[in-house]
């Protein structure tokens, strides 16, 4: 037994030791090419490329209504200064620098993705399309083709101009078996019909589906890959593991110490630096991302000034951990900015694969037995909002009339009685025919145990027993996919376009590997879900969405829980932001500094940094700063 205890200790130490091991990485960079060379690069092997059945060359159709946008307001600050280094963190070192293929789906990937500019971006305030790699866009009458004019100045980081052939190649890339990414293979195979290249900078992307233009841009565009860099063969995965792929964004990796940090350097002559919506953004000369595994250690690093900014959405961080001298003296400033963008859905799904939840009254009774308000007011300190229905932040798509059922013992009692669960056993839990009113809640977030224990204790008052089954993240999701749960407590990542079919259609009920965790099979709902999926008129789609949400609420298929519709972070005073700090559609730019749509709007002021450090030594104080911006707050 002692040996066992030792084993545990040794295991923990070994884990720590591994993380310290490091070896400087020899980086592989492509040499800078001359103009003649680049022209040759672009024209090489084109015949080979157009052998693919989904790629073709063509002549430009007439009468395309070209659109562009330079009338929306800018959201970066003209006061921004270039220079400085932004220090931030990752929780583990990436297993590869590839962004597709095995092991690429880690949290670090967004840093690489965001430094590949999109064909078109979206304005974070107005939601309109903005030029990216493409300057002009248009669509056809059939609503299935997106025409694009690329910016002739667009360059890869190695100086090679970006052309329409790169876009065409990208589809070949994603459909290739050599990238070992079956999701991309099927997803893009089902979406893309044809890419037609008209000339070096003009092309059309035809989708297999009819969509409105925003959906077309959302579904039928991708991260463009440099054609001159990739050789698609069976060694691709292995070869590109630690290669730095040329990109079109503002930064490129400049230094790697494996297991320790990755450093990005700003391109001094970035091709997009003077474009209207990219000017005054991406200001720091360097961004150093260090591995700090433990959340508490990260917070300590932030409090010491080793990290410039830190997300403070967790109420405990905001209210108790990041307080005191540094904040009172104005060295650390705090920002609480309500945004208005799609929110993740935290909800419980009562599986109708088990008999108990086939009864509507039982489901309604359960909804009234969950004291979500108490969790919001106590554990979450009043910082989170109740999620009233199963969408939030989708604008007109949200049915704002729906109010989620509140904790109400009388109503719970009424519905349980209707369902025959009137009697209570000796332990206060309802009984019927020798069975107890008890259900197992499967979940995978350690940090949410605090919330669930409160729900569990309160549910006892209604005569409901919840047993908690905490599994590790991946295992809990797997058990839900395999339909082994009774109640699934889960959060769905925010979807830019709300989908209902996967989670509510009877085709996906009572089957493994489907997202219909409630195992809802509703003959009334089914046709609406199909209609919603195929509708591309925004108004009709919204009306359908409202109907669907109402039905889900009336039938109590899910109980939606909480949402934090805001960005909240702390930053040292040398980290400067525009006014307003963020936009309606922004996420937290301190964690996603490179995002093309809304990221990189802050800057590091080296002089203020010196001033602050000196002031801290001298004990000099600044006025404390706390920005609470509620202009986009709902309700």
């Amino acid at each position: 037994m002692k040996r066992i205890a030792m084993l545990i200790l040794v295991g923990a130490l070994a884990g720590a030791a591994c993380s310290k091991k490091s070896e400087p990485e020899a980086e592989k960079k492509a040499p800078v090419l001359t103009d003649a060379q680049t022209a040759a690069v672009n024209k090489a092997d084109l015949e080979e490329l157009f052998k693919e059945t989904y790629l073709e060359r063509g002549t430009m159709p007439k009468g395309i209504n070209w659109l562009t946008n330079d009338s929306d307001p800018v959201f970066a600050s003209p006061k921004a200064k270039k220079g400085g280094t932004y220090y931030y963190w990752m929780d583990s070192f990436p297993l590869t620098l590839r962004t597709v293929g095995p092991d690429s789906n880690g949290s670090f990937r967004s840093n690489l993705f965001h430094n590949q500019m999109d064909l078109l971006h979206m304005h974070p305030e107005t939601g309109n399309l903005l030029p990216g790699l493409a300057t002009h866009w248009g669509t056809n009458k059939e609503q299935n083709t997106l025409y694009l004019k690329l910016n002739p100045n667009a360059r890869w980081s190695d100086g090679v101009p970006l052309t329409a052939y790169d876009v065409a190649f990208t589809l070949k890339f994603y459909l290739s078996k050599h990238i070992v990414a079956p999701w991309y293979n099927t997803q893009y195979g089902e979406e893309y019909d044809m890419i037609t290249v008209y000339d070096d900078h003009t092309l059309a992307i035809r989708s297999k589906n009819k969509r409105n233009i925003k959906d077309l841009v959302y579904y039928a565009t991708f991260e463009i890959r440099p054609r001159h860099f990739h050789i698609l063969d069976k060694d691709w995965v292995k070869r590109t593991n630690w290669q730095i792929e040329p990109n079109t964004g503002a930064y490129l990796i400049s230094k790697i110490e494996k297991g320790k940090f990755i450093e990005f350097k700003r391109k001094k002559d970035w091709w997009a630096k003077d474009l209207k919506y990219f000017k005054n953004r991406f200001n720091m000369d360097k961004v150093k991302i260090s591995v700090i595994r433990d959340a508490n250690v990260r917070l300590e690093h932030f409090l010491k000034g080793n990290l410039d900014g830190y997300p403070l959405v967790i109420p405990e961080y905001w209210h108790s951990k990041v307080t005191g001298k540094n904040v009172d003296n104005g060295y650390i400033q705090k920002v609480w900015f309500y945004n208005d963008r799609p929110q993740p859905i935290y909800a419980i799904y009562m599986s109708q694969s088990i008999d108990l939840f086939k009864n509507k009254d039982v489901r309604i009774g359960f909804a009234h037995s969950l004291n979500v308000d108490k969790v919001l007011k106590t554990v979450l300190r009043g910082d989170y909002d109740r999620m009233e229905t199963n969408t939030m932040g989708h604008g007109v798509m949200d049915n704002k009339k729906i109010k989620a059922r509140r904790f109400d013992l009388a109503k719970a009692d009424e519905h349980f009685k209707k369902a025959g669960w009137e009697k209570r056993g000796p332990d206060g839990i309802r009984v019927k025919d020798g069975k107890r009113l008890s259900a197992r809640v499967t979940y995978g977030y350690d940090a949410h145990t605090d919330r669930l224990v409160v729900l569990k204790e309160e549910a006892k008052k209604a005569g409901v027993e919840l047993t908690l089954q905490k599994l590790d993240g991946a295992a809990s999701f797997k058990s839900m996919l395999e339909n082994q749960h009774e109640i699934a407590y889960t959060g769905w990542g925010a979807q830019d376009r709300m989908q209902y079919w996967g989670q509510y259609h009877s085709d996906n009920a009572h089957k493994p590997q489907k997202n219909n965790f409630g195992n809802v099979a509703d003959k009334v709902l089914d046709p609406w879900l199909i209609a919603y999926k195929d509708e591309f008129d925004e108004t009709k789609k919204a009306a359908l969405a409202h109907k669907i949400q109402q039905r889900i609420h009336d039938e109590a298929y899910t109980v939606t829980l909480w949402a934090a519709p805001y960005i909240r972070f702390g930053h040292w005073r040398w980290m400067k932001f525009p006014d307003p700090v963020a936009s309606k559609g922004s996420k937290d730019t301190t964690i996603y500094p490179f995002d093309g749509d809304w990221g990189g709007v802050f800057w590091i002021d080296e002089e203020v940094k010196k001033e602050t450090k000196a002031a801290m030594k001298a004990g000099k104080k600044f006025p404390p700063v706390l920005i609470k911006d509620t202009r986009h707050k709902k309700g």
Binding site: M1, K2, R3, I4, A5, L7, I8, L9, G11, A295, N296, P315, E316, H319, S320, K321, K374, K377, T378, V379, R381, G382, L409, D413, R424, P426, D427, G428, D446, T449, D450, L452, V453, V454, K456, E457, K460, K461, A462, G463, L468, Q469, K470, L471, D472, A474, A475
Partner: protein
């Protein structure tokens, strides 16, 4: 083994008593363990006695008594702390007698505007404060202790039963049986225990018994080696030969002669096995692979404590308890080893 103590055992006991720190530690430990079995009388949200309209109620054990029984307007379990206050205000001669620490290990004592963890406070009855969801730390310590100690004792009994049986058999019968089991055990001992636990607990939530089964799976090995050696040694002694010459059966020899003569080994290891049982359970809970939430456990408290270092009462309470427990167990272990040291009692040829 007979109930009547033979002079040698009495001598050992006296020697144990004479080692003061070990003896007193043992007395304290046994008392605490015994009391923990009735923890509901000391640490509980249910009242000990309620007197309402001339009737006496004893809610500690048994069914839930709903608020309506005492004239309240709710149909779930009575909140006795509130009831006590209300009875005092009403002044109708009804009264409630609460346990010393009036909280159970599961309830969240949450008030809007006051956010857990809250510091120790005599008035609210949270003598060691609350944890990050407002549960009473003292209650969780006490019930966590009870779980850990019961777990360790049960594990010890199972481990030793299997370990001693197989070990004795190996030493006594020897030959092919011994050889075979030696190899099996060597292979078994190389299975990485921690990984098995991690794998098992990520695909299912281990409960008290599955966790014990997993530990039992690997825990019995250690004892076999000691028992095998000891039995091997005893088997060669004259008294065993004599017994065999008189026609005693193998079972009789093992039970009547060999085990009583190797008991000192078993007894000496016991306290250390108990302490390591507690340590292993705590470590697993700390790592999140132990008993499911919201079971009170020391490991879980320790984890909360280390992530809320500014709320020092959480981490210090569990660390102090752990140190006290392990120190006392070690004292007892030392004293037993001293007392049972064969060199003090026997003269070998």
């Amino acid at each position: 083994m007979t109930l009547q103590l033979d002079p040698l055992t009495r001598k050992k006991l006296n020697r144990f008593k004479s080692i003061k720190r070990g003896y007193y530690s043992a007395v304290i430990l046994v008392t605490v363990i015994f009391l923990s079995f009735f923890a509901e009388f000391f640490v509980n949200s249910r009242a000990l006695i309620v007197r309402y309209q001339g009737h006496l109620y004893f809610p500690t054990y048994g069914s839930v008594i709903v608020g309506k029984t005492f004239g309240r307007d709710y149909a779930y379990e009575t909140n006795y702390r509130e009831l006590q206050k209300e009875f005092r205000q009403e002044g109708e001669g009804n009264w409630v007698l609460m346990p010393i620490s009036p909280y159970n290990a599961y309830e969240n004592d949450l008030t809007e505007g006051i956010y857990p963890p809250t510091a120790p406070d005599r008035q609210s009855g949270h003598y060691v404060g609350t944890d990050s969801t407002g549960r009473d730390v003292f209650a969780r310590l006490v019930y966590g202790f009870r779980t850990a100690i019961i777990f360790s004792i049960l594990l010890l009994i199972c481990n030793y039963t299997i370990g001693v049986t197989i070990g004795c058999a190996m030493g006594y019968f020897g030959g092919l049986f011994d050889l075979l089991f030696q190899r099996i055990i060597e292979i078994w001992a190389n299975v990485p225990f921690l990984y098995i636990i991690i794998i098992v607990s990520s695909i299912m939530v281990p409960n008290f018994f599955t966790l014990m089964m997993i530990m039992l799976f690997f825990g019995w090995i250690q004892m076999t080696w000691y028992m095998r050696t000891a039995t091997y040694k005893q088997r060669g002694r004259e008294y065993v030969l004599a017994a065999r010459a008189m026609g005693a059966s193998d079972a009789y020899i093992i039970l009547q002669h060999i085990i009583p003569n190797t008991i000192s080994i078993i007894v000496t290891f016991m306290p250390f096995s108990i302490s390591s049982g507690v340590v292993v359970l705590t470590s697993l809970d700390y790592l999140g692979f132990g008993l499911p939430a919201p079971t009170p456990s020391w490991g879980e408290l320790l984890r909360q404590g280390t992530s809320n270092l500014s709320s020092s009462w959480i981490v210090s309470s569990v660390v102090v308890s752990m140190i006290l427990l392990l120190t006392m167990v070690t004292f007892v272990g030392e004293a037993i080893r001293e007392a049972f040291d064969p060199k003090k009692h026997t003269v070998y040829e």
